[in-house]
């Protein structure tokens, strides 16, 4: 009953207190928001698995056709398991292209059959637009792209299938942005390691990406330290440790449950500096971009790391199945921690990940890596040409 008054109260507060913001220049969100949800690292709610559960940390053959690493034997205190050397990152995309093609084939063939029907009437264009929409490109960008393609086709005065396809490919390629700098900055600065911060909403595959990324870097001959700053989700640190043991990286993790993630990140970077590793990858807890308190926490993690190192890459992990909400996620994360790259995961499914086109265009942040499966080596550098080629079949 009083709830309506409560709402009224909210409005009143917003108007009285927030009114200033409407006059003042855009105030960025910050401050310690009173969060209704549990705040990792600030209370007893956050727990990680007790350290005693480390015994079963033996890695088994990963699924898929990937070069199966042998099961790792009992892991005692020191993480020195039998580690196989992961293959280097070069040429991965070639190997994984087939997998990408699998996910995209339906899309490509639909386009193909449309274009090969020979006539380009309104209905055909509509269908092309719809196909782009089903790739999660979003209604507006798809309409825009088709409109452009239509004009181009008209100008070129062609109904030739291959030409139209070439035009579509060129347009898509431009949308995907072939000219982005997609290199991952992982080289150490003198005596300080390169720091990579991995962020994203829940369940996109951050921890898995951290593990795979560590393997990629180790495969390229770097030494890697992983920071388990996901102190919230149960057993997240254990999961990261399992990955590290498989790849031969070291892990810095909190000694107690629900520690402050920023302090874990700081410890990880300090340890990395002392031990002289090349790269430090910091895994963070998944957080929905709508939770201001958690986004502030993320900002804090980054600030704290920057006390004595530079954060070279902030990678936003985006699930390829994500729809239009992905754009909002990216926007908020970009605002909070200034992301420098995107990792598009789960692209081996049926999802096309078209949302990255909108994300790239809006934020100017390139997709740098793609995740293409559950195997430990199913992470590859993003190649726009391969992506688009798979798209247009």
């Amino acid at each position: 009953m009083e709830t309506l008054l409560i709402i009224l109260g909210i409005v009143l507060v917003a108007v009285i207190a927030g009114g200033g913001a409407l006059l003042a220049p855009r105030a960025r969100r910050s401050g310690k928001a009173a969060q209704t949800g549990p705040m990792p690292g600030q209370g007893g709610t956050a727990t990680a698995a007790p350290p005693s559960t480390r015994a079963p940390e033996a890695a088994a053959a990963p699924p898929g056709e990937v070069s199966a690493p042998p099961p790792v034997a009992e892991v005692p205190a020191a993480p020195t398991p039998t580690v196989e050397k992961p293959p280097p990152s070069a040429g991965r995309m070639v190997r994984l292209r087939s997998r990408l093609a699998r996910s995209q084939s339906a899309f490509g063939s639909a386009l193909l059959s449309l274009l090969s029907s020979g006539k380009l009437d309104d209905q055909t264009w509509d269908e092309i637009e719809e196909i782009l929409i089903t790739a999660d490109m979003g209604a507006a960008p798809a309409a825009h792209l088709v409109e452009r393609l239509r004009t181009e086709v008209k100008v070129a005065g062609t109904t030739d299938l291959t030409e139209v396809r070439a035009l579509l490919r060129a347009d898509l390629l431009e949308q995907v942005g072939a000219d982005f700098d997609r290199t991952l900055h992982t080289a150490p600065h003198g005596d300080r390691p390169a720091v990579l911060l991995v962020v994203g909403v829940n369940g996109t595959g951050k921890t898995t990406t951290c593990g795979k990324l560590a393997r990629v870097l180790i495969g390229d001959g770097r030494s890697v330290l992983l920071g388990a700053a996901d102190t919230f989700r149960a057993a997240a640190a254990d999961q990261l440790e399992t990955w590290a043991n498989r790849a031969g990286a070291t892990v810095v993790r909190a000694d107690r449950d629900g520690a402050d993630p920023a302090s874990v990140a700081f410890e990880a970077v300090s340890a990395g500096t002392v031990r002289g590793v090349d790269s430090v990858i910091v895994d963070t807890a998944g957080r929905l971009h709508t939770k201001a308190g958690l986004m502030d926490e993320l900002g804090k993690i980054k600030r704290v790391i920057e006390k004595h190192a530079t954060v070279d890459e902030v990678l936003l992990v985006l699930d390829a199945t994500t729809g239009q909400n992905g754009l909002r996620q990216a926007r908020v994360f970009a605002e909070a921690v200034d992301i420098t790259g995107i990792v598009l995961t789960k692209l081996d499914g049926t999802a096309k990940g078209g949302i990255v086109i909108a994300v790239q265009r809006e934020l100017g942040v390139p997709v740098k890596l793609v995740g293409l499966g559950e195997g430990p080596d199913d992470l590859a550098p993003f190649e726009p040409e391969a992506f688009v080629d798979a798209l247009v079949g």
Partner: protein, 585 residues
């Protein structure tokens, strides 16, 4: 930017008011807008097509004469259709005749199965069951540990004979779990399985094998509410591969519109049974189709807001806050700070505002109100003396300078806060029907008298006063009915042009957000004004008084629709009706 469906439709129909029936051309234009709106909400394309076909059919025949405006009518149709699909055949969990009841979870990677398993177990336990969690996700590293920790937190035993991380046979684990459950007398078994892709034949076979081994009573498909167009493909793949009986939507605490819900429900014909919204194990509830429909259409989520408030505040706090607000003159800066703290406790202000209907169209504007501003306001008030807080009129130049220095802001900011506060105070006073005398009237409103069409804004409060039953102690805050409140607030809408849309949601839909919806609509104009200048900011609210119009009293409850005819949406009589329903909660 016209982001919401209601905005789009309002645009389409801007020249259409007064016409009796929708022409085919209008319907086409409408359908195009609905299509885009649904696509933006991530509803899958095939579903959109089907849906549009149904809406078109209904809209063509619809008589829009009765409606406030055609846009509203169409939105009503859309909303009803949405609820129908989403609400399909709502049903409870099926329990086995002979325990244990077996519930199996399946879904893509990262959709939240493990967390959901624990939430479900906790929920079941709360209902007097004795669930057993089964760790059959042996794929992902340390998923077993995660479930063990969560199980411990939920106070539910976990059956995890295999270490996981790639070792062990999930089928065997599932099979053994049944014996374990029978042995230890658990009546429900919740099996957490590994995440898998629809195209991964081997993993799908494994899921089917688990299914065959345990013969589950319920297979729940867990789907992330942020999923896009792929929802249909995935859902179909799981339906073919494993089959499922119900759907669970997760991560609804994000701001994804959740069109996936519609896609999955439509394509598979399986009901959505649960919704999970939050990281805590308690953040789990039955699915509400009406709220989801509103969400997909971006009509705001007022009920969630109310629930959140109820969770956060106890009765006494709420009563206190309401009392302060209602007391008009008695509402001092001190109370304001207290209230501010309470609002802060509810969550980030941007989130709260976002939940109000009509928020989307003013997203830019709302985005500018941040928690920082709230903090700053609190700092300013905290730099005042007690006397100043109680009586801000004594604030002279030197006092203001002192406050500004004390709180680290400029004198201008202090000034504008004071001005806004005084205006707000005035607004409260007007809204509450002149303070104390108005109070007893509220019960009348609460009984369901509608904030009737022709009276605007505060009029809604007044007539209530007129037909008061009397005897209700003045100043009793609980007495303020939602109906009265919304009527009053709805008046605010008049301050802002172009607001026609969102509030009108599903005028007669089952659970719409009407009452409160209409009310909170008042917010955007109020916020728009300050954009100009601080004093003008209140113009929207100030308009209240003058807009009050003739204060009719009108007691009959029925046909809010025809009554509301010429009024801005927020004022529709139906708001009162909704309020009445809500009161029972």
């Amino acid at each position: 930017m016209f982001e919401t469906l209601s905005d789009r439709l309002t645009q389409v129909f801007s020249s259409l008011r007064g016409r009796g029936r929708l022409s085919p051309a209008d319907v086409e234009a409408t359908c195009r807008e609905i299509r885009i709106a649904l696509l933006e909400a991530d509803v899958a394309l095939p579903v959109v097509r089907q849906f549009i076909a149904r809406v078109r059919e209904r809209a063509l025949g619809a008589d829009v004469r009765q409606a406030l405006n055609p846009a509203q009518q169409v939105i009503k149709i859309v909303n009803e259709e949405l609820i129908e699909i989403l609400g399909g055949e709502a049903r409870r969990l099926r329990f086995a005749k002979v325990p244990p009841t077996v519930i199996m979870l399946a879904g893509l990677q990262g959709s939240g199965k493990t967390t959901l398993a624990a939430k479900l177990a906790l929920w079941l336990r709360g209902q007097g069951n004795t669930p057993l969690l089964v760790a059959a996700d042996l794929q992902r590293p340390n998923a077993v540990q995660q479930l063990q920790v969560l199980g411990e937190r939920a106070g539910v035993p976990v059956f995890a004979p295999q270490p996981g991380s790639g070792i062990g046979d999930p089928i065997q684990v599932a099979r053994d779990s049944l014996d374990e459950a029978r042995h230890k007398l658990h009546n429900v078994v919740v099996i957490d399985t590994a995440g898998r892709l629809g195209v991964d034949a081997a993993m799908m076979n494994q899921a089917a094998a688990i299914r065959d081994a345990v013969d589950p009573d319920e297979i729940l498909f867990v789907v992330d509410s942020m999923i896009g167009q792929d929802a249909v493909t995935t859902a179909q793949a799981f339906l073919d591969g494993v089959g499922f009986d119900g759907v669970v939507l997760t991560k609804l605490d994000g701001d994804a519109r959740g069109g996936a819900a519609l896609s999955v429900a439509q394509v598979t014909g399986r009901p959505i049974m649960f919704a999970s919204a939050g990281e805590k194990l308690e953040d789990f509830d039955l699915f509400h189709p009406d709220r989801m429909a509103s969400r997909i259409l971006d009509l705001g989520d007022i009920l969630t807001l109310i629930e959140q408030a109820e969770r956060t505040f106890d009765q006494q706090q709420a009563a206190e806050m309401a009392g302060k607000l209602a007391s008009g003159d008695g509402f001092t800066l001190e109370d304001f700070v207290v209230q501010l703290a309470m609002v802060r406790k509810l969550g980030p202000i941007s989130n709260l505002l976002g939940m109000l209907p009509g928020a989307a169209q003013n997203r830019e504007l709302l985005g500018q109100v941040s928690d920082k501003d709230l903090d700053r306001a609190a700092a300013i008030v905290n730099s005042m003396t007690v006397e100043e807080r109680r009586n801000p009129k004594i604030l002279n130049g030197s006092r203001r300078l002192r406050i500004a220095n004390g709180s680290g802001v400029t004198v201008g900011e202090v000034n504008s806060l004071v001005v806004r506060f005084l205006e707000g105070q005035k607004m409260m006073r007007q809204m509450m029907g002149g303070g104390i005398p108005g109070m007893p009237g509220m019960p009348g409103m609460r009984r369901g008298q509608k904030a009737k069409g022709k009276k605007k804004g505060k009029g809604g409060g007044r007539p209530g006063g007129a037909n008061r039953p009397g005897g209700v102690p003045a100043g009793k805050p609980a007495a303020i009915g939602p109906g009265g409140g919304s009527g009053a607030l709805g008046g605010l809408t008049l301050g802002g042009p172009g607001l026609a849309g969102p509030g009108l949601a599903g005028p007669d839909g089952p659970g719409g957000l009407r009452g409160p919806g209409g009310s909170v609509l008042g917010l955007p104009p109020g916020l728009q004004r300050p954009g100009g200048d601080s004093a003008g900011g209140m113009a929207g609210f100030g308009g209240l008084g003058s807009d009050g119009g003739p204060r009719h009293r009108d007691d009959d409850d029925d046909d809010g629709d025809s009554d509301g005819q010429q009024l801005p949406p927020g004022l529709r009589g139906s708001s009162g009706r909704r309020g009445r329903g809500k009161k029972g909660r």
